[in-house]
């Protein structure tokens, strides 16, 4: 059925309005996310912490692996660890972006470039503390008061650091410089992680 010029015009307007609305909501959505240029800086810090820890774990194990596995098999274990580190890094980065999205913009999104980095590192240190704490308990159930206390301390440290960096520009610049240098690890570790993931997928399928 042919449309009259009026009908056609109003339909075009409706589509444009809908697109505008869609664009507006996308814009609102995007405006709540950290800047795309900030993310790689934070990701560099996340990757450095997670891959560094993974390599440490591998080095702990490699001497015993060498007892009963061939060099090729040891490489395979390494690929598993690197693939897992990639997924873990993406997971942590995703959690940081989600936090920026959910929390009021001023809290975390604004200045994500240094706030995200600080949060990732405070989180990493908290996890190491948790690992050693569980070990010291011989993996018995920890008391909730200690756990909540630990979380409280971690949040407090995070808050103090965020306030400190928010107010001292020189600290921000220094951190940015560190992040810039850490980005080199992203160029090294991410391709390694992707390659490892492909190899693991090939082995398991």
């Amino acid at each position: 059925m042919a449309l009259t010029p009026d009908q056609s015009q109003s339909q075009t307007q409706a589509i444009e309005f809908s697109r505008e609305k869609e664009g507006h909501s996308l814009h609102v959505l995007a405006s709540r996310l950290p800047g795309w240029r900030e993310i790689p800086f934070v990701f560099g810090g996340v990757v450095f912490a997670i891959y560094g820890w993974a390599v440490r774990g591998f080095l702990y194990q490699v001497s015993s692996l060498y007892l009963y596995h061939t060099l090729g098999e040891i490489f395979n274990v390494f690929f598993y660890l690197m693939a897992f580190a990639l997924l873990e890094s993406l997971f942590v980065m995703g959690a940081l972006i989600l936090a920026a999205f959910i929390l009021p913009g001023k809290w975390f999104k604004e200045g994500f470039i240094y706030k995200g980095f600080i949060a990732a590192w405070v989180g990493s240190i908290a996890m190491i503390r948790l690992e050693y704490y569980l070990f010291s308990l011989n993996y018995a159930v920890p008391s909730m008061s200690v756990l909540y206390g630990g979380m409280g301390i971690a949040l407090l440290v995070l808050l103090v650091l965020l306030l400190l960096f928010q107010n001292i520009l020189r600290l921000q610049r220094f951190l940015l410089m560190v992040e810039e240098r850490m980005q080199i690890f992203t160029y090294l570790y991410i391709p390694l992680g992707i390659l490892s993931l492909i190899l693991v997928l090939l082995r398991t399928n």
């Binding site: 912490a49 997670i50 820890w53 993974a54 390599v55 440490r56 774990g57 591998f58 702990y60 194990q61 015993s64 692996l65 060498y66 007892l67 009963y68 596995h69 098999e73 395979n76 274990v77 598993y80 660890l81 897992f84 580190a85 873990e88 997971f91 942590v92 989180g123 990493s124 996890m127 190491i128 948790l130 690992e131 050693y132 569980l134 070990f135 011989n138 993996y139 018995a140 159930v141 920890p142 756990l147 693991v200 997928l201 082995r203 398991t204 399928n205």
Partner: protein, 511 residues
């Protein structure tokens, strides 16, 4: 492989029409069949209890009555009094049973995910049965399960390690990882998701996983505290003894006969978690003989701790006996026992003495290698006793012999007495440990014992020194008096034999 097929009406008519022909063909068929036809249709069922020391059974001279139900069943079986495991922990102990080889040949003796070397991958028990029997295997111990994955091509059914467990945490046999179990095990179970150590490779996931796991474990312990006052048995996944036995019974109910079945149960392996009715039943004041902490002990545990552990081990064993007796009863009531050879044994023993706990030790003493071996054969009504020294590597050639197959050329074991073998009192029986030795390198960090003529010589060879110990097992079953320092001349022959054997096996792996 599914051997069960639905028979259609057409198939049935075809079958009926062939009956006269088969009758005519009988003499010819009979003439062409090998003599083994009589036994080839028997099931062979191996039940392995993990870390089960013969020295803790009253039948073998222990003062506590830890397994009364089993001992009742033993009255209709052939019982081996001096049977020894070739290895001292799960990997070498199980691999030796499955291959008929000493650990120095199959090379699965390191702590970890290393398995049988590829040269011997086809040299294993399932390959013997795969043409004549349906083959089914289940290992509740993850290290034994890794070995079963190596046997996969000869297995019709490989039940998961946690098939009968309460929880399911293992990843190496899950989804796509089961296509690469050994590497997935070495990476996921042995590195990424780790407890009892802080060397995990995962910075975020592992601590959260451990937090969740400890909480879930505690919740399960509380849930079942009426039944298990000390908590639930745990092999990384918690389980109930009753569930494991029920699972085994269900599996046997569906067995495609003739079947070859390998069940490797985790109990009475540590952690010792007795059922409530058995808690404190051995709070009897009895104390094992005093055995000082050994120079090479890794654990250096106090005597009080070890005595307590022994008591818990005994109480857990009694709990296991109460549950597993239902499996024996099922086999008897269902007539399965009449159609099967049933073998009950262990992969290794347990050593809660001389400072050591369990089997994480370089030491070799009787409780760690002296394991039960009980064989039920169809129609047997009275117990037979074999006192000759035998080894876990004898199982494979014996079972092959039972179904009429010749002993495979690769095996180092011999036929067991009463099952085609002879009583040879002078036979040399070796047990070895080399947890920290590279699997493809000569044995330079090893403990090897040679048991023969009621004597045992153990050679501890480590970079920080060598040591021989020599015991007369007839006069000193507890191995309290090391005769080597005072009577080295008595040990010359046995020492030379052991050193010669070590030299011989090392020659193959010298660079």
């Amino acid at each position: 492989m599914n051997r069960k097929k639905n028979i259609s009406r057409r198939d049935f008519l075809k079958f009926v029409s062939l009956i006269p022909l088969t009758w005519l063909a009988r003499p010819i068929a009979h003439a062409t069949l090998p003599k083994r036809e009589g036994n080839v249709h028997r099931n062979v069922i191996i039940l392995v209890f993990d870390a089960w020391s013969a020295n803790h059974l009253r039948f073998y001279g222990y003062p506590r009555d830890t397994m009364p139900n089993l001992e009742r069943f033993m009255e209709k079986a052939t019982v081996f009094h001096n049977h020894y495991s070739a290895g001292t922990f799960t990997i070498p102990g199980t691999a030796s049973m499955l291959t008929g080889l000493y650990p120095w040949s199959h090379r699965a003796f390191s702590l970890g995910s290393g398995g049988i070397i590829k040269e011997h991958l086809n040299d294993q028990i399932f390959s013997i049965f795969s043409n004549t029997h349906s083959t089914l295997a289940y290992a509740q111990n993850k290290f034994a399960d890794i070995l079963l994955f190596q046997c996969a091509k000869y297995l019709d059914t490989h039940l998961k390690v946690g098939a009968f467990n309460l929880e399911h945490r293992f990843l190496y046999n899950f989804g796509p990882f089961k296509n690469d179990p050994q590497m997935a095990f070495a990476s996921l179970e042995n590195n990424i998701l780790l407890d009892r150590t802080t060397s995990s490779s995962s910075l975020f996931v592992n601590p959260i996983y451990n937090l969740w796991k400890t909480t879930a474990t505690r919740d399960n312990d509380l849930r079942f505290s009426d039944e298990y006052p000390l908590g639930l048995p745990d092999n990384t996944e918690q389980f109930l003894l009753a569930d494991v036995v029920d699972g085994a019974i269900q599996t046997l109910r569906g067995l495609e006969e003739p079947g070859f079945v390998y069940f490797h149960f985790y109990p009475p392996h540590e952690n010792y978690m007795p059922l409530k009715p058995f808690r404190n039943i051995f709070n009897d004041g009895w104390q094992p003989p005093v055995k000082p902490v050994h120079r090479l002990s890794w654990g250096k545990k106090s005597r009080a701790t070890l005595n307590q552990l022994n008591r818990e081990y005994d109480e857990y064993m009694a709990s296991w006996d109460a549950e597993v007796s239902r499996l024996f009863q099922y086999m008897e009531d269902s007539g399965l026992l009449e159609r099967s050879y049933v073998i009950i044994t262990a992969d290794h023993g347990e050593l809660n003495e001389r400072g050591e706990r369990g089997h994480f030790t370089p030491l070799i003493f009787d409780p760690l290698i002296h394991i039960p071996l009980i064989i039920f054969q169809p129609g047997q009504k009275k117990r037979k006793d074999v006192h000759t020294y035998t080894s876990s590597i004898d199982l494979l050639p014996t079972l092959a012999h039972l179904i009429g197959s010749p002993a495979p050329s690769w095996v180092e074991g011999e036929l067991l007495p009463e099952f085609g073998g002879v009583n040879d009192p002078g036979r040399s029986i070796y047990s070895m440990d080399a947890k920290t030795n590279a699997s493809l390198a000569p044995l330079t960090k090893t403990s090897i014992s040679l048991t023969k003529n009621h004597q045992r010589l153990t050679y501890y060879k480590y970079p920080d020194g060598e040591q021989f110990e020599f015991y007369n097992l007839e006069e000193d079953r507890e191995e309290l008096r090391d005769l080597y320092p005072s009577r080295p001349a008595d040990a010359v022959l046995i020492r030379d034999e052991l050193l010669q054997k070590l030299d011989e096996v090392n020659r193959l792996f010298k660079a």
